[in-house]
Symmetry: C2
Subunit: 251 residues, 2 copies
Amino acid sequence: MERKQTNLSVSVDVTKAKDFLAIIDTVGPFVCLIKTHIDIIEDFDSTVIDRLQELSKKHDFLIFEDRKFADIGNTVALQYSSGVYKIASWAHITNAHAVPGPSIVTGLASIGVPLQRGLILLAEMSSKGALTTGSYTEDAVRMARARRDFVIGFIAQHRMETIGASEGDDLADEDFLVLAPGVGLDAKGDAMGQQYRTPEEVVLACGCDIIIVGRGIYGKSDQLNTESVEEQAKRYRSAGWDAYKKRVSLS
Amino acid sequence: MERKQTNLSVSVDVTKAKDFLAIIDTVGPFVCLIKTHIDIIEDFDSTVIDRLQELSKKHDFLIFEDRKFADIGNTVALQYSSGVYKIASWAHITNAHAVPGPSIVTGLASIGVPLQRGLILLAEMSSKGALTTGSYTEDAVRMARARRDFVIGFIAQHRMETIGASEGDDLADEDFLVLAPGVGLDAKGDAMGQQYRTPEEVVLACGCDIIIVGRGIYGKSDQLNTESVEEQAKRYRSAGWDAYKKRVSLS
């Protein structure tokens, strides 16, 4: 983040490998993290991963497969390591829901820790009516605290520092990243319940570290315009980083 | 179920296409439903789906892809329809977590309803420390009730009839299927937090309709023994159907 002066993550939710790689090559210089949904790419084959890894090195970003694992330990271990995608072999970071209980972290850690991968837990979601509230969020944070060798942060709308903590917990060296989804400078939502907030709101007011932007950067058009994508990536990088610098200077 | 006198669903959690299809061909005559994790098959290609569909016709069972969708509406619609797997094109039934809120059902319904597919919501899980309790389960059931044109049942440990209902709700014609995971006649759990109950417990005592059995039927051995798989499938079919008949005769 510091090296590239960016706290922007772009979520590349397109279904054609050509568009997927073109967007990543365009926004690469401006992001710290590329978030993927590898399972929506229709013409996927292993060369897509090869090219993604090349771009990761070329532009110095980490790859975050937004798989939202949500099954029991035995199953997620197979889904993470095996199958067509072999996510653990190329994604520096992936994420999981807390809903199955601690066994999901155990299952993923059995694959990810030996490969020095990191896990993000979903503590809150940005969609309307999400059930990630109250004791659910507290339990998710407790699950993370119990596995700090593998869990590096949260998908959330706020900082999680004191959430779910008991008296006597040693939180002094706790340093979880907070990644905020649902960030947009223009739209307020979509037709399917997604809700957007601005970088200023999520970083400065709510203390999140990384902003995740998707359709705000590459739009919905079938005709990809890389000039406009680059312009939007720069715009979001500035908005996110300005908010981050402001927050850090205040603390 | 009635036609084949079975309430058994086999969860085929193996990573080789050959084993996957061999197990399904063996247990096919004894099941109402085959539950798949298509994303753990290492040598997947589209012929696996062709063959799976042939077996579904040959043995008269439905296909249930246990995808546990858990993202916002826009994303799950893409994951369900697109990508390498095109789940909506072949899985009669799939499932989703309630955690993102009602938008997940909206997103999946936009793809599944036109194809006459059915959705199962996860109201409870069988893994240790699962967060599917209390108001979480109630909200999941309410989400299902709001979309009875698409949601056909629950993954749960008990019947859900009065859960989350308000006074004045018309529940008379409510007829959700309840599918119980974590069923085993021999083991009590695995090393990753899975917990097992017997068919008698889940069907007779707790009122579930369909038992889901995985490793109890095909074991963990690398060498698949189809004779033993057939024997176990018959054993679980009997145990499940006996419990079901007993429950129906009591009600």
